[in-house]
Symmetry: D2
């Protein structure tokens, strides 16, 4: 069921001609691209982005540890996907997100991401604690169920 | 451990400048694109592709039911990834694949895909049995462990 | 100068994190992707799309003959581009389009496309006359200067 | 005519399933992506890349001023494109490149790029002189006709 629980953040992506493959349906890596777009849109809505994470907190970025997706129905050019974003876990240095993508109230794809906040030392990336201000900004979108 | 078990199929992808994000590391949906590229390269090596599936068997395509990935280390422009492809399940109408991506023998990313063979009826996609000839072609790359 | 002449069609694209390269600015093929997105958005606004061109007129598509772009200023994650689309030529079987992309009224990129309407015979693509209904739909967005 | 003049640099790109649109032919921004891939492959072959330009010369990158392409024939999944790269101009701070893309000796696409070497001051990008070592490395691939 596609719902909009308290705390979820909504945005849209339109499926474009170039997002589809020769079978006429979305080439699946694009669903992950739309999840990533939605993560960054959420953080901007919460008052931070990758540039401010770097400038204010010395954080290189929030790369992925793990992602997964289930695909329920095909989407085609012109379809306008509703994407509901929820933060499903906030750990010491990592967090998890869930993106429910639907078309006219019908599930199309479900994407999950686990991300880690990292600093760079040389060419190495090391996990670092999520800054308190960032943690506080994310909390309202942390939905447990 | 990155190994090359009997039955695995190998190919390479070079990480290009445009595959990386502003943190200088691969934008993660590209790992899924490289998995998909590898699936199609495997089927061509086995003697079929999406065009012949359609022409010879009336199959619209092999869309994804489920995918997932774990990311072990970042990859950067100029890196040449070794991709070992294994078929990990062959069912009645679906199959699963595993893509181990490594750089100089060190794991970078692991991608899993579950695909279903479908026919189109109207705008609906319905699972169909994997044709015997296709099943036979895939068998040598079916690696259980 | 960024203007909105009579007949131009406007839409927006937000620059996402994954659209940018390691220098932190848009990876340039994305500007062409946004032009193509805008072409298809325009045709949908005019009442047709690639699916209806095929179903109603036997037209395979509207591939590119020639494209070009000039880049005036970099764009970065979070930037919201205004895209003004004009049809600059309507020939027998081809047309040309101009996409002026701007950020806060300042030019970022200018893209030009020349497209041809084609039918498929075997694996060959052959130009065909633009159907009268399509020509009539496009006319209001044909801006000569 | 597709030729291989003295000084041209060759590489290949395979057209993948996900590079094609619903008409079954390459989605055209990918030709520009392959041109960009080829530029970076050329510079690596010449002994430099974006990372060394930054580390050794304080150069942020080599963004595009202008690009264009003519498309002669469609390309489809599985096609292996031969790409011949020539440097067609080396100015004070900019250079131009030509990418002739062919399939089995038949022209598919021709891409042109004009690039400028830039430094960053604040959020501004300013042209800078091409370093002598870089100019010397590029010279052998400078082909006037």
């Amino acid at each position: 069921m596609i719902s909009a629980p308290t705390g979820s953040f909504h945005r849209h992506e339109t499926v474009h001609w170039g997002d589809c493959d020769a079978a006429g349906i979305v080439f699946y890596p694009n669903f992950y691209r739309w999840a990533d777009n939605s993560f960054h849109a959420l953080t901007r809505a919460l008052g931070f982005d990758q540039a401010s994470l770097s400038a204010d907190h010395g954080i290189l970025g929030t790369p992925l540890v793990e992602t997964s997706a289930r695909f329920a129905a095909p989407a085609r050019p012109g379809d306008r996907l509703d994407i509901a974003v929820r933060i499903t876990r906030i750990g010491r240095s990592s967090c998890a997100l869930h993106y429910a993508m639907a078309l006219d109230g019908r599930a199309v794809a479900d994407v999950q991401e686990a991300r880690v906040f990292v600093r760079q030392t040389g060419t190495q990336l090391a996990p670092c604690a999520i800054p308190d201000a960032i943690r506080a900004a994310m909390a309202p979108h942390f939905v447990t169920s």
